[in-house]
Amino acid sequence: MTEVFMPRLSDTMTEGAISQWLKAEGDTIERGDVLAEIETDKAVMDLEAYEAGVLEKILVQPGENVAIGAPIAVIGDGSGTSDVSDAEAPSVEPAPAEQDAPPSEPADDRDEAPAEPETEPAAETEPAEPEPGPVAEQAPSDGRIKATPLVRSLARSHDIDLATVRGTGPGGRIIRADIEALLGGGKPAEPEPAASAAPTAPEPQPAAAAAPTGGAPVATAQDDDERVPLSQIRKVTARRLTEAALVPVFQLTTVLDASRLNELRGEINSRLAEQGIKVSVTDLIVRAVAVALRAHPEVNASFGGDAILRHAHVNVGVAVALEDGLVVPVVKDADRKSVTAIGAEIKDLAARARAGRLKLDEMTGGTFSVSNLGMYGIDAFTAVLNPPEAAILAVGSTVDEAVVVDGEVQVRPRTRLTLTVDHRVLDGAGAAAFLRELTDLLAEPLRILV
């Protein structure tokens, strides 16, 4: 018999719910058949069978949330003899998240191996820890936070709420590396070896102390306050944005004369209306951003701790507002796609985002993001960085304004563009050059069509 485990379907997922079972107990399963739909923190995704057989038992009912790696079904030979005694309840025991994930529990061939799952196995030649790595990680489902003593000590001194930290150590354990990543790539204050064996609390680093993550204020409910429980996506949004707040940023705002952009858009849409093609301001801006990024590789970059990573591909994310959160689907290689291709892709991505049907790889790998609130009548705003991207562009609405052109007052459509920049990657002058290039492209937008 084969147990089917809750798979890890996104890099921020710690648990998932069965949206619905597409197979019933007793059904014959072919390899590759879709068994169920899984609702992760960001999307609904298909769970395929890795093994053929008969679906003998469903262990998790639709709507139930279980941790990654928890058994959710049993596939057997149909005889019904599968021993599911140890697989009945979703367990907090680590289990392989994927077929190729290494076992989380060490082979226990020595009698001194401890009975307690929390205790480290004793055998000297057997790996006592599961191989770590992004695939093997998982969070406990019982709400208990696994963190090393060092991490707990650092969390105390840096005022970090460990509930907001994702553990990447064995079994989802939070390890020092996770805290270091949180504190912006820098090492947290090392505990100074104390003279006695009694450790003293490490001193917080000034920079880290000024920008705690989980330490962001949290309200407690008053008498009549309505409690709206966080959806998965709201949880992720909250965590990601809190993390983003750790990055030192600055903003640059410029005003675009959108006359030519509007003309071009009108021309394209009237001429291609018969073919059902319609491009939006966002489509044109994404295309212009991609062209400008290709010319400015220093902006198409990320802070890599001890290096700046200049990305080979130009992948532009577009913020899409959902009812209960925000997703940023990514237009891959936007610099190599036409405006109409980009437009069609954004339309498709946004529609599927709203339906919760985006695939993981459609939401990851962005190198720059665009957020457009113009349609909401917002004149100008600053967007929060989408790490590890180095910059994000906030687009305001296009408004007719009186401006002086060649000594005369004229009415021109104008759009405010605000760039938020990771200061560790870029300085003001470099970011300004990129923004200049972008507004030049949009002011004379024919260049983005060729």
């Binding site: 000297e124 790996p127 090393t148 003593p149 390890i175 590396a177």
Partner: protein, 338 residues
């Protein structure tokens, strides 16, 4: 400046015995085959000729008898140094060592000390089979009233044996069959080790590896090998199992946040268990992973060479566990080193 020369662990022990016998007439030697045969491992070579049969005494094959005799001599003012051919044979003298040597000073109100040294080698790997290859040092390290030293280098062997002979308490000096022929720099002249001091033999920043005797040598070797792969290992050589230098161990674990113990004995209730407990008590808030132990397989040691080899902890086993420890903490190797 004292002159330093490269000599073997065996020679260093010999030199210490000879120097102390020369310095102090109350130092006498007892043991099986130590005189005419010059010792099973030749530590006492030439001493019978030099100091005579009064001070270098071949004994019957009766560990209980000659250890008891040494205790009596020590109580009456001599400084006997007993050679027990291997630590395996010390079991026959267990009652004398544990119930007498370790207790007399305390039980009789300090009326008499027992300034006796038991020199005895432990260790496997020589195809001497299960009853002649054990590492029973922790049995003695468990007993208050005894001191247990475990030198890993020729220089330490000399300085620790000298210190043991001059100490007024019963001391068990653990030697190791596989270390006798190892060479190292030893300062000429008198060196006296301080009791209960562990040594950082290789300084490092990433992982603490704790060892003693042969395992300290392996640990230092592994530290050198892994330094080339961008891993900075700090090796702590315990040197003394009782008293135990907990502070040096904890200080190192606080620095690295990761600790592995390499021990020659069996894992269960072994030296590593004591070290792991020491670290979690003293450096709890500094650990980024559980303390790991690398020890001998929990079986009577096989005679067959192939089986003996895999049953004993070696450098590869240590490296494997260090790698696991590093992976568990997502350790990033230093640049340009791999």
């Amino acid at each position: 400046m004292t002159e330093t020369s490269d000599i073997t662990y065996r020679q260093a022990l010999h030199d210490a015995l000879r120097a102390e016998m020369t310095r102090d007439d109350s130092v006498i030697l007892l043991g099986e085959e130590i005189g005419l045969f010059e010792g099973s491992y030749k530590i006492t070579a030439g001493l019978l000729n030099e100091f005579g049969p009064e001070r270098v005494r071949d004994t019957p094959i009766s560990e209980e008898g000659f250890v008891g005799a040494a205790i009596g001599a020590a109580m009456l003012g001599m400084r006997p140094v007993v050679e027990i051919m291997t630590i395996n044979f010390s079991l026959i003298a267990m009652d004398q060592i544990v119930n007498h040597a370790a207790k007399i000073y305390g039980m009789f109100g300090g009326q008499t000390a027992v300034p006796m040294v038991i020199r005895t080698p432990g260790g496997g790997g020589q195809q001497l089979a299960a009853t002649h290859s054990q590492n029973l040092e922790v049995w003695y390290a468990h007993v208050p009233g005894l001191k247990v030293l475990a030198p890993s280098t020729p220089a330490d062997a000399k300085a620790m044996l000298t210190a043991a002979i001059r100490d007024d308490d019963p001391v068990l000096l653990l030697e190791n069959l596989s270390l006798y022929n190892t060479k190292g720099p030893v300062p000429a002249g008198e060196q006296v080790a301080e009791f209960g001091r562990a040594k950082v033999t290789v300084p490092g920043t990433d992982v603490t590896v704790v060892g003693y005797s042969r395992s300290a040598v392996i640990a230092a070797d592994v530290a050198r090998r892994m330094a080339g792969q961008g891993v900075s290992i700090e090796v702590v050589d315990l040197c003394s199992l009782r008293p135990l230098d907990r502070e040096t161990v904890c200080r190192s674990a606080m620095k690295t946040g990761r600790a592995v113990v390499l021990e020659d004995d069996w894992l269960t209730y072994g030296v590593g268990a004591e070290i792991a407990a020491t670290i979690q008590e003293g450096a709890f808030d500094y650990l980024d992973a559980p303390v790991r132990r690398v020890a001998a397989a929990e079986i009577p040691l096989p005679y067959a060479k192939s089986l003996e080899r895999i049953a004993l902890p070696d450098a590869d086993a240590l490296i494997r566990v260090i790698e696991e420890q590093l992976d568990a903490t997502r350790f990033t190797r230093k640049e340009g080193t791999r």
